[in-house]
């Protein structure tokens, strides 16, 4: 088993199955429909990008899968179990736009937090945290505290923490949203590599079209009021996503396709009358 291996051999059950899910916030009268009639199946090992404008419910959908919120109606299964059971069994790792590190802990202890909460013995979790710090390129910073790190480094700690328990499913809510463009692309390259090597399924929420296309096997396009899935586009750009892909015509073609899906009509290109 390599250091990236997940808990199990890929199971035939899908990683996530969302059926007829609806989510309403607030009470009658002032109720807001955040999600309407959402169906989505994510295969084990599949990388999905959820993309759409603000308020389309993409983060809400991810929070429902994580069981941080409950759907108003419909069912969500994670590896064939209820979302709640999957959360209690720690079947997923999660990362948000904010790193959410504990400022009083070192990098290593932040990475080891989920292991510590689940009673993994000290030596084992220290070794795992060390391994992950190297994986995200923070070996030298293992004993630093979060306020001594840049935003990009903090986010890498958050991703290492999400990987700590070798989850078969990674949930990521705009984890690179607050980073500058260069750091962002480097993080995307690293995530593509990590996701490929670990074989984990990924639900990646973003509002960046190139980011969605570069990373995902499938881009799920959502639209707001009420939040729903309007289109799902395959991104057949291969298992591995090397840096050079960003310059290729196939990549631009998929970017254009996603952009058109987001706008609901072909986008007129500059220079085309």
């Amino acid at each position: 088993m390599s250091q990236f291996a997940t808990k199990d051999v890929q199971a035939p059950t899908p990683a996530v199955r969302v059926v007829g899910v609806e989510k309403t916030f607030g009470r009658r009268g002032k109720a807001v429909k955040a999600l309407l009639d959402v169906d989505l199946t994510i295969a084990a090992g599949e990388f999905i990008s959820l993309i759409g404008p603000s308020g389309c419910g993409k983060s809400t959908l991810m929070r429902l899968i994580a069981d941080l919120d409950a759907p108003t109606s419909g069912t969500i299964e994670v590896f064939g179990k209820s979302a709640r059971q999957a959360r209690l069994d720690q079947d997923y790792g999660i990362a948000f736009q904010q790193a959410g590190l504990l400022p009083w802990r070192t990098v290593l202890k932040n990475i080891a937090l989920p292991l510590e909460l689940h009673g993994v013995p000290y030596a084992e979790r220290a070794a795992r945290a060390e391994e992950l710090a190297l994986l995200v390129g923070l070996g030298e910073f293992r004993d630093h505290r979060p306020d001594q790190l840049s935003g990009g480094m903090q986010q890498r700690v958050a991703i290492a923490r999400a990987l700590a328990e070798r989850p078969r499913l990674l949930l990521m809510d705009e984890p690179f949203g607050a980073l500058d463009e260069m750091t962002r692309e480097r993080m995307q390259n690293e995530l593509a590599r990590i996701a490929h090597q670990s074989g984990a399924a990924v639900v990646f929420v973003t509002h960046s079209i190139p980011e969605a296309v570069f990373l995902a096997d499938r881009v799920v396009v959502m639209s707001p009021r009420p939040g729903r899935i309007t289109e799902t586009l395959d991104v057949p750009l291969g298992e591995e996503r090397p840096e050079g892909l960003r310059e290729s015509p196939e990549f631009f073609e998929r970017v254009t396709a996603v952009r058109e899906a987001l706008h609901g009509a072909p986008v007129r290109r500059a220079g085309e009358a």
Binding site: A66, G100, L102, L113
Partner: protein
């Protein structure tokens, strides 16, 4: 080298200031010859202090104990109530007006009443005054501290299926501790002030405050000043205790 320079400066600067103040004082007393009832000479105060060291120490221990017990009781009650208020919104709503009232009540106003309530020979009233003075800053800061954990951190702990106790010891409490310590440090000096001032308004015949009031009234100004020195010493001791507490807590925090 700059580090060494600032370290020397940190020790030297207050010594220089102290020496300057002493110089001005001596200038006023010996050269300008201000009346000794107005400004007694530092040597007179010093010799009064030494001559009465035993009784001054005894009184200082009495007042210091009152202040320390008050700080302890006030802090514990404040921490418990803040925890309750952070957990239950209605409790917060019920406590808010009481805390506001305690914040504005001049604590000395309560002293004569407490002296009658608990009897003039008991220290209880004085301890209670110190406890009330200590309660407010600890409560307010602890409550603020308990609300420091960010929503994203709470979400993470929920996602990890952390138990309530784990979330408290690893997130809520460490996030609250710096605020609690700030509260305790403020409360420490308030407790000393309250304990000394409470003695001005009757009660048992011991304590630094009682002595200051008595000797100031009877014209023994140098001895009264010597007792003021003792009151300052109590304040410094409590301040040092709070710094020690901070060191311990900081170490605990980095180990959570």
């Amino acid at each position: 080298m700059a580090g060494v320079g600032t370290a020397i400066g940190r020790i030297l600067a207050p010594i220089v200031v102290g020496a300057l103040l002493l110089g001005v004082w001596l200038l006023l007393v010996d050269v300008v010859e201000v009346s000794p009832t107005l400004i007694p000479s530092p040597w007179t105060i010093g010799s009064e202090f030494v001559a009465n060291l035993g009784i001054i120490a005894e009184d200082a221990v009495t007042t210091g104990t009152n202040a320390l017990l008050g700080l302890l009781i006030g802090s514990v009650v404040a921490i418990l109530l803040a925890a309750l208020a952070a957990r239950l919104a209605p409790v917060d709503g019920m406590l808010a007006p009481i805390v506001a009232a305690l914040m504005v009540v001049p604590i000395v106003a309560l002293t004569p009443i407490f002296n009658t309530m608990f009897g003039a020979s008991a220290q209880t009233g004085r301890i209670l005054i110190a406890a009330i003075a200590a309660f407010v800053p600890v409560f307010i800061n602890m409550l603020r501290g308990l609300r420091q954990a960010q929503p994203v951190q709470r979400d993470l702990f929920a996602a990890y299926a952390a138990r309530g106790g784990q979330t408290f010891t690893r997130l809520t409490l460490p996030a609250a501790l710096p605020h609690l310590l700030t509260g305790v440090r403020i409360a420490g000096s308030l407790a000393v002030i309250a304990a000394v001032v409470a003695e001005y308004f009757g009660g048992p015949a011991d304590g630094v405050g009682t002595a200051i009031a008595t000797y100031a009234k009877s014209g023994r100004i140098p001895l009264a000043w010597a007792y003021v020195g003792a009151a300052i010493a109590i304040g410094i001791v409590l301040f040092l205790v709070s710094i020690l507490l901070e060191r311990i807590v900081r170490r605990y925090r980095t180990e959570t």
